[in-house]
Amino acid sequence: MSKEIIKRTKLEIAKQPEGIEGPGFFATKVDEVIGMARANSLWPLPFATSCCGIEFMATMGSHYDLARFGMERLSFSPRQADLLMVMGTIAKKMGPTLRQVYEQMAEPRWVLSVGACASSGGIFDTYSVLQGIDRIIPVDVYVPGCPPRPEQIIDGILKIQELAKNESGRRRHSPEYKELMNSFGIE
């Protein structure tokens, strides 16, 4: 029985970045190394407000383990977090708080909007619900679903990891990024 399992699972060693290898040294681009390090050790801030938060708890549990992606340490302080995961409905009363949390995060920072309510207001097209968090903060990846299955949340996180890995070191200082921030009114 155990021999069959070994045959079926194909273990892949993670690819190393392109570079020049020699005896005792490995030369590659700084961006590649930093990208790899950032992608595999993101510290998320779970901003869980409603039902999607419970699916996030299930994703963090042992069945769908999120810790294997490097997200063992959840940070509840925005000053120490890289990834803001907004999970659940954001009401207009909560908007200023979300904005404040986002502004306290240090660059580089990514935002993952989990669930239909965070992405676009969801089924709650009412006077009290913010119709999507991208009205107040810039979002990198949207995960649709109501609530999304843990596999979908993990898919969104993998996409964030792709973004983090392939980001240029100069992106956060470029004029396009400044323009993006200004369009939201963030300095």
């Binding site: 207009k92 009363k93 009412t126 006077y127 009290s128 119709q131």
Partner: protein, 166 residues
């Protein structure tokens, strides 16, 4: 059982408050009483403290607007747990002057229920310790659950009403 409760409560209320205008009916097996809003507080106090009726538990307190949109109402659901009796008390008043005495001196749990009713309908509860909005944003100046106000946020410009009729 419900008819018995209805009759017993009607009899006790008529004895205690002679000349009281009381409408009582049995809706879906539930005794319902409609009373005048000026007398509502005394009636609730009597229902709570009378040893025979003993409606010591306030299940629910909520508001509504009548179909003709001219009146607002407050609805109380009371419960006597030992004898398992439930009744509903309804009171109505004019929408231009929606005021009624608070029930927080009788039941501590009425506090937030009245704040929610104030938040949604604008009914002022006289004597409430802290009648401010509880669920909506503090700066809101309309009472959203009234029929005149729409459900959706009217300041959106990215949706076309041509496709989804409102």
């Amino acid at each position: 059982m419900s008819k018995e409760i209805l009759d017993r409560v009607t009899a006790r209320l008529s004895t205690q408050f002679p000349g009281l205008h009381l409408e009582s009916e049995l809706l879906y097996d539930f005794p319902v009483f409609t009373v005048d809003h000026t007398k509502a507080h005394e009636i609730l106090k009597f229902l709570k403290e009378d040893p025979e009726l003993n409606f010591h538990f306030l299940t629910d307190l909520t508001g509504m607007q009548t179909a003709d949109e001219k009146q607002l109402g407050v609805i109380y659901h009371l419960h006597n747990m030992p004898k398992n009796m439930r009744i509903r008390i309804k009171t109505f008043f004019d929408i231009a002057k929606p005021e009624i005495n608070t029930a927080t001196d009788l039941w501590a749990g009425a506090n937030w229920m009245e704040r929610e009713t104030y938040d949604f309908f604008g009914i002022r509860f006289k004597g409430h310790p802290n009648l401010v909005r509880i669920l909506n944003v503090d700066e809101m100046d309309i009472f959203p659950l009234r029929k005149e106000y729409p459900l959706e946020d009217q300041t959106r410009d990215d949706k076309s009403d041509k496709m989804f009729g409102r």
